[in-house]
């Protein structure tokens, strides 16, 4: 079994540091802007919480029958930290084991976590935007309020912009590092043959 190259081995620590930022910065931010909110409203999504103007947004959403957002309703806020912590522990093992195979498996797991997270986020947004209270005061035929996964969308009087926050970018960067290093390691091993 082949050992990792030095850059490959230390990239494990880099990825761990990147992922640790999830506990210090939000993953995602959704900005809303409307004429009567000149300063805009922001909701930030953390690994284990939703913060900032959530209460204000909840207050507005009842008009169109969207569900209110409560930290307690998200099992993701329990699973996701547990998953990432397990993944970091695995990373430490990969670092000490120092084998390419370990790294490949680690990258594979990350890819799975990443894809599942985005799918879960999309599903939540879909449900949140489509599953409306049939007795809502304002009902616009055919209208749904699913926020964009990433990017800009106009929803009634609100303009919505969704994008990664610091920890989100570093999460994405972790993926880039992992895939690049995996490719690099694989090339290196071929050279040695």
């Amino acid at each position: 079994m082949k050992k990792l190259t030095a850059p490959g081995r230390y990239s494990v620590l880099l990825v761990i540091i990147f992922l640790a930022t999830l506990w210090f910065f939000p993953m995602w931010r959704i900005d809303l802007k409307a004429p009567q909110y000149p300063g805009g409203l922001t909701m930030t999504i953390w690994i284990n919480d939703v913060k900032d103007d959530v209460d204000v947004i909840n207050g507005l959403n009842h008009y169109i029958g969207m569900k209110t957002i409560h930290k307690e309703d998200f099992k993701e806020f329990v699973y996701l930290p547990a998953t990432i912590i397990s993944f970091i522990v695995l990373g430490i093992l990969v670092f000490f084991w120092n084998r390419k195979t370990g790294y490949y498996i680690w990258t594979g797991i990350f890819t799975a976590i990443g894809l599942m997270s985005f799918y879960d986020f999309y599903k939540w947004e879909y449900d949140y935007g489509h599953n409306l209270d049939p007795t809502a005061p304002i009902q616009v035929p055919g209208m749904s309020y699913q926020p964009p996964l990433i990017g800009y969308k106009k929803l009634l009087n609100f303009e919505v912009l969704s994008q990664p926050h610091v920890a989100g970018w570093l999460f994405i960067l972790s993926g880039v590092v992992l895939v690049s290093i995996t490719f690099y390691e694989w090339k290196q091993s071929k050279k040695m043959v």
């Binding site: 204000v56 207050g59 009842h62 008009y63």
Partner: protein, 657 residues
């Protein structure tokens, strides 16, 4: 033919003569005045201008240079618009020893200071009629405290302030006997006193306390200013009626060539207080305080003041002769010059603090007034501004060595240089200016830039509105050598003094909402689940919540004619600019305006049976119109059970068996 020509000439002369009018007030504005006062939509004014409301009893807030009205802060008068003085929580604010007083005449304002500069914490206001001093919180723009002043007949020389807000003063304009003594009016000379109260301000909470009162001889304390810089530790009061007349003052109080400026060494007074030289006097006065956590006011009866007698306690008070019934008594930014404005005088005397100190040290006195030394006029005089105008009233400063004095009779603002007491410029005001204000003009570091005239007479300045007109303020640019009129703006009430502060000092500290989690109101409903209706005898307490766009509960039954119903409304919103209003049909008081996170109470006593709609009065959302409910009032003694709710929990008709 010749006759014809002559006639043409005569006609020409008549026509030409028509255009030879006196100067029109409309032609005075010239140049780029519009661009100087134009604050584009969405942009902010440079200064907050706090303007006393005069007989309105309130404080109005204008933006300068635009002259736009931003807010009216209720202080001494009830305000049905937001329930001030009508809600159960605010009623104690207007409590006095004479009971609930719903109005007053407010003349002067004083922004709190630190190191002689406006710090934007509070603004103080006086009530002239029922003597009181109020403190307004500049975070919430709400009246936080009102203190009644005992032994005062009319709180006019108030609420002037020391340079670190150590004291706010309250001097009586009408001297009266101490206590509540019943004496013949003609015994003025023996029994009447002019009391100057020194109110201590707690630097943390802002809470006021009468530290001591100085019982000066009976006369009228008119206006006042604290010393600053080198003169810090002294307070100066202008006086009139040192003749001690008690009737026809118009004539009898204008007899003496000179009245006085009273110089009070308050540091000395503090020493006497410390040494126990004051006399504790039984009296009564109310002290009303607002609590931001309970969203309620409390009213407490105080029963004692400490009185100092200046005839007995030497070196504390001196008199400076000042020509002809002085009104304004203003101290320049350096603290060295004291300007006395004799409202019947044809000159302005300027006194020097250094000279005054020297005169006191050298005992250059011309005699005594009721046991108080009178300094020789010339010994304290820095100089006289000759022929400044007619009827000087008040002076403000630009921090560049210039003074600006208002002239009521000649209706003008005169700019003069303090050092050489020379007139530099004069501009007319429309009409008959009273007070004036330079932003920061009473501080050690005035901003200069503008002078604002608060005129007593309006006449033709605006579109006529019947016999009763708005008051007229005028803004002048003083950044150049020549003062330039750039704006007229109407004001509410009748402004007397006003102050202006750099918007930056206040703007970012402005409170947006009250934290609902800190709401300690006795009748708060922390969420809709905690709403309820409780009967206790004929008292009914309704714990109600308001949030866009419903009041909870919105159906209430089981209330009877003659019940005392208290609607305690908690606004559950936590977002800026989402107040809710509350009104119920036939309520004999007013509406409530409830800010986010606040609880307010409206008392309602139904006098007849029926269904009483109630609703939100402040347009809050697209469904504001739906924010309404019903109170059912049944005959006294009927057996309608107490029921309440909203939606599914609303009381339902009992199905017939």
């Amino acid at each position: 033919m010749k006759h014809y020509k002559l006639m043409l000439c005569a006609l020409g002369a008549v026509i030409a003569g028509q255009s030879c009018k006196m100067k029109d007030t409309g032609t005075v504005v010239q140049g780029d005045a519009a661009s100087k006062v134009y604050v584009a939509p969405g942009k902010y004014d440079e200064f907050y201008n706090f303007v006393s409301g005069g007989f309105s009893g309130q404080v109005s807030v204008y933006g300068i240079p635009s002259g736009r009205l931003l807010k009216v802060i209720p202080v001494f008068s009830v305000n049905p618009e937001n329930g001030y003085g009508f809600s159960e929580e605010t009623k104690p604010m207007l409590n006095t020893t004479a009971g609930f007083v719903p109005w007053d005449d407010e003349h002067h304002l004083a922004l709190s200071q630190t190191n002689g500069e406006h710090d934007g914490r509070w603004i103080f206001a006086n009530a002239n009629n029922t003597p009181r001093v109020a403190r307004i919180n500049l975070g919430t723009f709400k009246t936080d405290e009102i203190l009644e002043i005992p032994n005062s007949g009319g709180n006019h020389s108030s609420p002037f302030i020391t340079e670190n807000t150590e004291y706010v003063v309250a001097g009586t304009r009408f001297s009266v006997p101490l206590g509540e003594a019943d004496v013949p009016i003609s015994s003025f000379k023996e029994n009447f006193k002019s009391v100057a109260s020194f109110i201590n301000v707690d630097q943390g909470t802002g809470n006021m306390k009468i530290a001591f009162q100085i019982a000066l001889p009976g006369m009228s304390l008119d206006l006042s200013r604290a010393g600053k810089g080198p003169s810090h530790g002294w307070f100066f009061f202008s006086t009139y009626n040192t003749e001690q007349a008690n009737t026809l003052l118009e004539v009898n109080a204008s007899q003496k060539d000179k009245d006085f400026i009273v110089a009070v060494n308050w540091k000395k007074a503090e020493e006497y207080v410390k040494a126990g030289k004051g006399t504790k006097m039984k009296t009564r006065y109310y002290h009303n305080k607002w609590n931001e956590e309970t969203h309620s006011a409390t009213s407490e009866l105080e029963q004692e003041v400490l009185v100092l007698d200046p005839a007995e306690l030497k070196d504390m008070v001196y008199m400076i002769p000042c020509p002809k019934s002085p009104h304004g008594c203003d101290v320049d930014p350096s603290g060295e010059y004291i300007v006395g404005s004799g409202k019947l005088a044809a000159l302005i005397p300027v006194f020097s603090f250094n000279k005054l100190m020297k005169a006191i040290n050298d005992k250059t006195f011309e005699g005594e007034y009721q046991g108080i030394p009178v300094v020789k006029y010339e010994a304290a005089l820095h100089g006289e501004v000759q022929k400044p105008g007619l009827g000087p009233l008040h002076t403000e400063f630009d921090g560049k060595g210039n003074a600006y004095t208002s002239f009521f009779l000649s209706s003008e603002v005169v700019k003069w240089s303090i050092k050489d007491v020379k007139v530099l410029d004069r501009v007319p005001t429309y009409y008959s200016i009273g007070h004036l204000c330079v932003p920061g003009g009473d501080t050690r570091k005035p901003y200069g830039k503008y002078v604002i005239a608060y005129n007593k007479i309006t006449k033709d300045r605006y579109l006529p509105t019947g016999p009763e007109l708005a008051q007229s303020a005028q803004l002048y640019d003083i950044s150049g050598d020549k003062m330039q009129l750039i704006l007229d703006f109407p004001t509410i009430g009748e402004p007397h003094y006003a102050q202006a502060i750099d918007a930056k000092v206040i703007k970012d500290r402005s409170v947006k909402i009250f934290d609902i989690n800190k709401n300690k109101h006795q009748y708060v409903a922390m969420g809709e689940k905690e709403t309820k209706v409780v009967r206790n005898g004929n008292r009914v307490d309704i714990y109600m919540t308001a949030i866009r766009s419903h009041l909870t509960p919105d159906n209430i039954e089981g209330v009877f004619v003659g019940d005392e119903v208290y609607f305690h409304i908690t606004n559950l919103e936590q977002d800026w600019d989402v107040p809710h209003g509350f009104a119920i049909k036939h309520a004999a008081n007013a509406e409530l305006l409830i800010m986010p996170g606040e609880t307010s109470t409206l008392k309602f006593v139904p006098d007849r049976t029926g269904i009483y709609p109630f609703y939100c009065t402040d347009f809050c959302s697209a469904l504001h119109q739906e924010m309404q409910g019903y109170l059912r009032v049944s005959p006294k003694g009927s057996n309608v059970p107490l029921k309440y709710g909203i939606g599914d929990t609303a009381p339902k008709a009992v199905a017939a068996k």
